[in-house]
């Protein structure tokens, strides 16, 4: 048990989550709420445990799916993760956030399980797939030559101010976004789920995934761009290519 929990690097991170719209920001609230939650967990408060599980379970399953063969195995991996969390709570020192610690345990377990299952696969080449190389945005949207080369030929059309609310209220839009996220290669999906879905700080995402900040932003931007394309397609009423 010690080996598993200590395999996860805890790190101090006091970075501000800059540039987030206050009304839609989750990260600060999550970070602030965590201190109180941890205290309740340590007192053995069942409600606090339910809250913790509800808060992270969905994202844990989603990420675990990228490492293992099927949903059932992903459920097992996450179930095992929760057992390690229960046993390790007393030793958790809070040098990283609680969620960073939990996601680190899950990835460690999922990789372990995935490697055992896919021994015949070249795991490292699978890992680096779709990481570098392609442009984030379709290059044909920009002028290819002339004095405006590299500038927009087909710029994005503005979305109105109510777009976030409208998207969240539309089952079709939610499905389109979820499909776009599910279709991401694992390297992009991991970053998007940790940073944007779970609100994990940049430095901690890098620690969990063992990547550099510049690599994180390359991946994060590609992931966001693919979701943006799905939204654009949805708003323009064209059939989804995802």
């Amino acid at each position: 048990m010690n080996v598993e929990t200590s395999a996860v690097t805890e790190s101090v991170s006091h970075r501000m989550v800059a540039g987030r719209k206050p009304e839609l920001s989750q990260s600060a609230a999550v970070a602030n709420g965590e201190v109180a939650l941890l205290a309740r967990l340590r007192q053995g408060n069942e409600g606090a445990f339910d809250e913790l599980v509800t808060r992270h379970h969905s994202a844990l399953i989603r990420m675990a799916m990228g490492y293992v063969a099927d949903r059932e195995v992903a459920e097992e991996v996450v179930q095992d993760t929760w057992m390690v969390v229960i046993e390790g709570l007393g030793r958790f020192e809070g040098r990283s956030s609680l969620q960073t610690w939990i996601f680190g345990i899950m990835i460690h377990k999922a990789k372990d399980r995935g490697v055992r299952e896919k021994r015949h696969m070249n795991f490292s080449s699978f890992e680096s797939a779709d990481d570098e190389g392609d442009e984030a945005i379709d290059p044909s949207r920009f002028h290819q030559s002339g004095e405006w080369a590299g500038h927009w030929a087909f710029p994005p059309q503005p979305w109105d101010d109510q777009t976030p609310e409208k998207l969240l209220a539309s089952q079709q839009a939610v499905t389109a976004m979820n499909r776009a996220i599910e279709a991401l290669p694992r390297t992009l999906k991991d970053v998007l789920i940790l940073r944007d879905v779970e609100g994990v700080e940049t430095k901690e995402v890098c620690d969990i995934l063992k990547i550099t900040e510049s690599n994180l932003y390359v991946r994060l931007h590609r992931a966001r761009e693919r979701v943006r394309q799905a939204v654009e397609t949805h708003l323009e009423g064209r059939p989804s290519a995802v």
Binding site: G19, F49, I137
Partner: protein, 93 residues
């Protein structure tokens, strides 16, 4: 005036280049010099300004999407394990 004389400024950094930096820019993870170039470009380029807003919208909305699975299949077993652990060491140690 900026529109007519703006080409040299615009051409310092292309829209295609700007788009690569948007997520880092939104998180304020770009160096000051680059940040200044991006800000200058955004001030005169409606296409890139729209693009930045759209990426910010995606970032915010993704965090608010309804969660697909709320509870583990065997949540009762986990809760029991949590309670048992808490009883073994009430202070959590």
């Amino acid at each position: 005036m900026a529109q007519e004389e703006g080409q040299p400024i615009l051409s310092e950094i292309t829209c295609q280049e700007i788009t690569q930096w948007v997520s880092a820019y939104l998180d304020e993870h770009v160096a000051d010099e680059r940040k200044r170039h991006i800000a200058l470009h955004l001030a005169i380029c409606a296409g890139c300004e729209t693009y930045v807003k759209q990426i910010a919208t995606v970032r915010d909305v993704v965090g608010l999407l309804p969660k697909a699975v709320k509870q583990p299949a065997d949540s009762q077993r986990l809760r029991q394990a949590f309670v048992a652990r808490a009883k073994r060491s009430p202070a959590g140690g």
